[in-house]
């Protein structure tokens, strides 16, 4: 299979969450999201109450994928930053380490300059975090070590129950 599954444990998730909280505060953003390149929401910070986060994650990933397609047509490797300006809210989307997408939504209480500056800092920390996650997963695979897996005992009955 191409690529590997993304597996995230409690402590890693906490570190990522901390980074997002920090960015949310320092960039004076409304909401901050982290999305997998395949459209799965990983984590968020800020007031996500009125936002359909699942749809937003999927559409952001679609957006990045389409822009990536355009980049390759033009001979660019990737456009790493997208910015959309609205009447009230703006959205800053950046690709981190070829793997995850950082989304910052902000209004007039912040500015593009501030967001860009803070996103850059957060990107560096997140790149390192995800490198660690990947190398940890590879190491575990090599050692044949797997944490308590929810799938090992999965039965046909379990799956059938999902469709009742």
């Amino acid at each position: 299979m191409a690529g590997s599954d993304l597996v995230m444990y409690e402590d890693e998730f906490q570190k990522i969450d901390e980074e997002l909280q920090k960015l949310h505060q320092q960039a004076n953003a409304t909401v901050v999201f982290l999305v997998d390149k395949n459209g799965q929401l990983i984590a968020s910070a800020g007031d996500t109450h009125d936002i359909d986060t699942t749809s937003l994650a999927s559409l952001t990933a679609g957006n990045i994928a389409a822009t990536g397609g355009i980049a390759r047509l033009l001979g660019e490797k990737e456009f790493t930053i997208l910015f959309h300006e609205g009447e009230k809210d703006n959205i800053h989307i950046s690709l981190i380490g070829q793997r995850v997408i950082l989304v910052v939504i902000f209004d007039q209480r912040s500015s593009l300059g501030l967001v860009r500056l803070r996103v850059k800092k957060t990107s560096e920390s997140l790149t390192k975090l995800f490198d660690d996650i990947t190398s940890k997963a590879e190491k575990e695979k090599l050692e044949g070590k797997t944490a308590e897996s929810p799938f090992a005992e999965i039965s046909d009955e379990d799956i059938d129950n999902l469709f009742k």
Binding site: M1, A2, G3, S4, D5, L6, V7, M8, Y9, E10, E12, F13, Q14, D36, K37, N38, G39, Q40, I42, D52, T54, S55, S58, L59, G62, A65, A66, G68, G69, T146, A147, S149, P150, F151, A152, E153, I154, D156, D158, I159, N161, L162, F163
Partner: protein, 195 residues
């Protein structure tokens, strides 16, 4: 490429509906959307043209329930079927965990079916996937129409590997959940093998 989150105890998987233009991929998703409980589903997002042809993709997040304390979520996507949207189709296959090929059973659409299936194999190969190793099922849709090809012929032309196949009438839901269930099951069993 599934996403397993031990912190929020969630498993997210991606299933893509593939097939020629107007074969009923979006209709499959619409029926699933109509028939699931509000708490199980998110919004059905359709990026379509004014004439309701899929332009980029349709997207439906579906929470099926729990397995061993883990919330199981499937993200269902369709591709735009029309031939000239090839670049978009490729993008949507990224990170796919399972594929459902929706074939149009009408005799005059047989060439379009074959072309779409070839396109699927090529696009998967480009991303390092092999259809034979991927959770996969075929749905022969539009079985209620008068000019459909016999099932033996469809299987001969479109299902050389003899994978699970289903007869479908997507607007009324015939075969819709059966097909989804078949691939969802294969996806979960695949996870079992790896973890």
């Amino acid at each position: 490429m599934s996403f397993i989150n031990y912190s929020s105890r969630e498993i997210n998987c991606k299933i893509v509906y593939y097939g020629p233009g107007l074969c009923g991929k979006t209709t499959n998703l619409q029926f699933i959307y109509k028939k699931t409980n509000p708490e199980q589903k998110g919004k059905l997002i359709s990026l379509a043209t004014e004439t309701e042809r899929t332009l980029f993709f349709d997207f439906l997040p579906l929470a099926l329930g729990d397995i061993r304390g883990f919330k199981v979520r499937f993200h269902l996507y369709t591709v735009p079927g029309q031939v000239f949207y090839a670049a978009s189709r490729k993008l949507i296959l990224k990170g796919v965990d399972g594929v459902i090929f929706v074939a149009d059973s009408q005799i005059e659409r047989m060439e379009a079916n074959i072309e779409s299936l070839d396109d699927l194999k090529i696009n998967l190969a480009e991303q390092g996937y092999n259809l034979e190793k991927l959770p996969y099922a075929v749905q022969y849709n539009k079985r209620d129409l008068p000019n459909v090809a016999p099932l033996e012929e469809l299987n001969k032309l479109l299902n050389a590997d003899n994978v699970a196949w289903f007869e479908g009438v997507a607007p009324t839901g015939v075969g819709v959940f059966e097909t989804l269930k078949s691939v969802a099951k294969q996806v979960l069993l695949e996870l079992k093998k790896h973890y």
